[in-house]
Amino acid sequence: MAGGVIMNDAVKRVPRALRMAYIVASVCGVGFFAMSVLLLGVWPGQVLEEQTRKMSPEHPLNLTVSESRGREIYSYEGCAYCHTQQVRYLESDMARFGAPTLAWETRFDYPHLWGTRRIGPDLARESGSHPEDWHFVHLFAPRSVVADSVMPSYSAMFEGSPDRPKQTARDLVAYLETLGRSRELAGPEGEAHARANCNCDKDEMGQMAFHTSELNTNPRKTRRNGAVPVLVAGDGKRGLELYARYCASCHGTKGLGDGPGAAGLHPAPANLAEHKYGLERLSFALTNGIDGTAMPAWRDLNFGDLSALVAAVRSFSVVQQELPADPKTLEAGARVYKANCAQCHGETGAGDGIAVNELRVVPANLQGVRPSLNATLHVLHNGIEGTEMAPWASDGTPNGTGRLSEAEVSAVAVYVRGLYQEGR
C-alpha cells in the first residue's frame, strides 16, 4: 500500500463494521458534548428563565449609565475574583451575608459576576451596607477603614484624596450600591410575590431563599434600631489592642478623631477625647453603628471584645465632671434648646425628636454623651459637615448664620452638656 496504511494482522481480522467503530465513537463523542451543553447549560437556563419570569417584580430597576460604567470597572479590575456576588443556599452563607441569591436578581448581569473565590466578603447584598464617603475612603486607602484588609488601593480613581473622586470612583460606588438593591426595593410584597410563585413548597432548598430574618445580614451594616446588649467596661488593656487594630485608623491612635481614614469622612470620626460616652450609648454605637455615617457596626465582635472596647474608648475621654451650672444660664439654655434643638434632639435630649425620621444622620443622643465645652461651642459655631446639624452662631466664623446670639450659644452649650446622664 504505497503511501497508505499497512495495518497489522490483528486489525485486519476485525470485520469492517467494527473497524469503523471509531466513527460511531466520534459521533457519540460530539453527542456527549452536546448533551453536556443541553443538560448543564440550556435546560438549567430555561428553568432559571422561567423562575425569573415568575418571581421577578414587574419592573426591577436596571442599571443607570453611571452604574453600568461602574460595573465595567468592577469587571476589568477583577473585583469578582475576591468578592463573590452570590449568597449560597447554606446556613453559613446566609448568617454572614443574608438571603440566598435568586435567579431574577441576576437578570441584568451581562456577564455574571458570581466569582469562585472569596478573599473579601461576598457583595451580593452590599447595597445599603456602607455610606458613600466610606466607600470612597475604602477605595482610596482600604486599610484606613478596614484593618488588615489586603484589598489593593484604587487611588488612581481619585484626584489625590478620597474627597475628590474621579468619575470612575463615583461610577464604581454607584454600582456597588446596586448590589442587592432590586430585592430590597421589592420589599415584603416582592418577597411574598416571589415566594408565591417560586413553586417550591416542597423544595427545602428553594424555601431557604426566604428564610433569613433580614435580606442583608452584613454585621457591619448600620441600624437605627436593633437589640443592644448592654456592655460593661471590660478589659482595658485588651481594649486598647483592639482599638489600635479596628478603630485607630479613623479615630486616631489617641482618640483625637485624626486617623489616616478620617480626612475623607463626612461627618468626621468622633474625637473620643473631647466626649464622654455613657455605657448605653457606646453599646448602641458599637452594636448598631451610627446610621448615615461611616461608623460601622461591630456586631461580629464578641461581648468580651466589645466590652473591652468600651473601656478603651472611655479611657480616652478628658471631659471632666463639672460644677453645677448657674440656674439662670440653664434656664436660658433650656429656652433656646426647646425653640431650636428639640425638634431633632428631642425634648429630653435623647436624640428622638419628631424630625428624626426625616434626617439622614440620627441626631446625637445628648443624654448619652457629654462633649467638652470647646467641642460643644465648635459644633454650635460650625455645624457638623455631612449631617443636618447646621451652624447656629452669629459671627466669628465664616459659616455664621446668625440664628443664635453668642449669649444664646453659650447658654445652650451649658444646657446640653448638662443633659448627660451617667449610665445612659
Binding site: 456527549f32 435546560w43 452570590q86 488601593s153
Partner: protein
C-alpha cells in the same frame, strides 16, 4: 526531507518557557500584593485583579498552549508518518498565538480591557483570534491523521484529535455565551467552560504527551490499549458534564448540580483507570528514571491521580460547602495546572528537545529542575490546602470576616516562598534546554533506554513490521 519541523518545535518550546516566566511573574507579584497590598502604590496597571487575570491566561495560552504546540509538531509526524499541513502555516500560527493572542491579551488586560470570566479573561477581540488559532491548529495537525487513516490510531492520536476538536466546541461556552445570556443562566455556561478549559484542552493534550512519552522513552508498549481507549472515551463523556460543580448550592437547578457532582465522582473512577494503565506501563522504569522527560511525565501522572481524586471529593456537597471559595481550590488548581499539566508539558517539550539533533540539552540542569519543581509544587499545594481548611473553619464560625484574611497570611507567605522554588526549577529547566552540548539529549536517551531517530520511530508507529496482537498497543514495539 525530515518529517518533523524541528524549528517550530524549538520556537514553541522556547516561547513556552519565556511566557511561563512572564506568567509566573504575574502570579508571584499578585501573591506578594496579598502580603504587601500597597506595593504597587495604587498603580492600575499593577493592581491585583489585572495581574490575576494575566497569570492564569498566561499559563493557559502562553505556557501550556506553546508547550502543546511544540509537542504536536514533534508528535503528529511521529504518530502519523506524515508531515504537518504546512510549515508556513506553522510560522503564521506561531506569530498569531504569541504576538496576536498572548502578548496583546496581557497588555489589554493590564490596560483595563478584559472579561470577568474564569479561564476567559482576555477581551472579546482576543477571543476571536483564539478561535481562529484553534481552527488553524485543527487544519495544521488533523489532516495527517485522516490521511493516515484512523482505524488503528494510538491513544495519543485520539487525545490530540479530541482535544483540538472539542476545544473549538467548548471555547465559546465560557467566552461568548455569558456575554449574551445574563446572570445565573450565563453562569451555568461559564461553569461548563471553567471545567472544559481544563478537561477538553489541557487534560487531553497533557495525556497525549504522557501516553506518547512513556512508550517512546521506555521503548516498552503501553500496558493496555483497551484501557487507554476506555479511559479516553469515558473522559470525553464525563468531563463536560462536570461544569456545574463550580456552582454548588447556587440557584442553578439542583438536579443539574447533582448531575455534575455525580459526574465528578465518576470522573475520579475514570482517572483511576487511566492512571493505573499509565503506571502499569511505567513498570520497570524505576521511581526516578534516568531519562528526565520520562520522569516528568511519570510524576505528572501521579499528580493527575491526586488532583482528580481531590476534585471528585471536593465536588461532593459536604466538602464543597466548606472549602468552596477558599484557598483549598487555589491549591487544587495549582496541582492541576502546575502539577499535572506542567509536568506533562515539561516532559513533552524535553522529550521533543532531545530529538532535535542540533538542540542543546543539559542533563544535570534537568535533574535540578525536576527536584525543585516537584518540591515546590508539593509544598505549595499542601500549604494552600491547609489554608483553605483554616479559612473554611473560620467562615463556618461567627468570627469576623477579616479573621480569615489574617489567618491566611502565614500560608500566603508560605505560598510566595514556595513559588521561589518553582522559579528556580524553571530556571534550571530553561538551562536544561539551552546549555550543555548540542545533541546531548539524544545521547542521554541512548544511554538510558536506547533511542531511535524520529524517522525510525515514525516508521515503526505507522508501518507495523511486527504483526502480533500485543504490538497494536504501540505498534511495532515488541514486548
Amino acid at each position: 526531507m525530515p518529517l518533523v519541523e524541528q524549528k517550530l518545535v524549538y520556537a514553541h518550546g522556547l516561547a513556552a518557557v519565556v511566557m511561563l516566566f512572564v506568567s509566573i511573574a504575574f502570579g508571584i507579584f499578585a501573591s506578594i500584593e496579598l502580603l504587601l497590598p500597597d506595593l504597587s502604590g495604587g498603580s492600575p496597571w499593577l493592581s491585583w485583579g489585572r495581574l490575576r487575570y494575566d497569570h492564569t491566561q498566561g499559563i493557559l495560552f502562553g505556557w501550556l498552549g506553546n508547550a502543546f504546540l511544540a509537542f504536536l509538531y514533534h508528535a503528529v509526524p511521529v504518530l502519523t508518518g506524515r508531515r504537518v499541513t504546512s510549515a508556513r502555516l506553522g510560522q503564521w500560527l506561531f506569530g498569531l498565538w504569541n504576538f496576536v493572542i498572548v502578548v496583546p491579551g496581557w497588555l489589554l488586560v493590564l490596560a483595563g480591557f478584559s472579561q470577568p470570566l474564569e479561564w476567559a479573561e482576555f477581551p472579546l477581540i482576543i477571543d476571536a483570534f483564539v478561535v481562529l488559532a484553534l481552527l488553524l491548529m485543527a487544519i495544521q495537525f488533523l489532516p495527517p491523521f485522516f490521511a493516515r487513516g484512523i482505524e488503528d490510531l494510538y491513544v495519543s492520536s485520539w487525545y490530540i484529535i479530541g482535544g483540538l476538536i472539542f476545544t473549538i466546541l467548548a471555547y465559546p461556552m465560557g467566552n461568548f455565551v455569558p456575554e449574551l445570556v445574563p446572570g445565573a443562566r450565563g453562569a451555568a455556561f461559564s461553569g461548563l467552560w471553567i471545567h472544559d478549559a481544563v478537561g477538553l484542552f489541557v487534560t487531553p493534550l497533557a495525556l497525549a504527551i504522557i501516553y506518547f512519552v512513556i512508550p517512546a522513552a521506555s521503548r516498552r508498549p503501553i500496558y493496555s490499549h483497551f484501557l487507554s481507549m476506555l479511559g479516553f472515551w469515558l473522559l470525553f463523556f464525563l468531563y463536560p458534564l462536570n461544569g456545574t460543580h463550580h456552582y454548588v448550592f447556587s440557584v442553578i437547578p439542583m438536579s443539574a448540580q447533582i448531575g455534575a457532582i455525580t459526574a465528578s465522582a465518576l470522573l475520579g473512577v475514570d482517572v483511576i483507570l487511566v492512571v493505573a494503565n499509565l503506571l502499569l506501563s511505567l513498570r520497570g522504569t524505576g521511581w526516578f528514571p534516568r531519562d528526565l522527560p520520562l520522569r516528568f511525565v511519570g510524576t505528572g501522572t501521579v499528580f493527575y491521580l491526586v488532583v482528580s481524586i481531590q476534585g471528585s471529593v471536593q465536588a461532593q456537597m459536604a466538602v464543597n460547602q466548606a472549602v468552596h471559595f477558599s484557598d483549598w481550590v487555589i491549591g487544587h488548581s495549582h496541582l492541576a495546572m502546575l502539577g499535572f499539566a506542567t509536568f506533562a508539558a515539561a516532559g513533552g517539550i524535553a522529550h521533543a528537545w532531545q530529538r532535535i539533533p542540533w538542540a542543546r540539552y543539559n542533563h544535570r540542569a534537568m535533574v535540578w529542575a525536576y527536584w525543585l519543581l516537584s518540591s515546590g509544587v508539593v509544598i505549595m499545594v499542601i500549604n494552600l490546602t491547609i489554608a483553605g481548611m483554616v479559612e473554611a473553619r473560620l467562615w463556618q464560625s461567627n468570627a469576623p470576616w477579616l479573621d480569615s484574611v489574617r489567618a491566611a497570611r502565614p500560608f500566603w507567605i508560605g505560598r510566595t516562598h514556595s513559588s521561589l522554588l518553582i522559579v528556580a526549577g524553571f530556571i534550571a529547566f530553561l538551562l536544561g534546554l539551552t546549555t550543555g552540548p548540542r545533541g546531548a539529549g539524544l545521547a542521554e536517551g541512548e544511554e538510558s533506554v536506547g533511542l531511535e531517530t524520529i524517522d525510525e520511530m515514525a516508521r515503526r508507529l505507522t508501518y507495523s513490521d511486527a504483526p502480533s496482537p500485543r504490538a497494536s498497543r504501540w505498534p511495532g514495539v515488541s514486548s
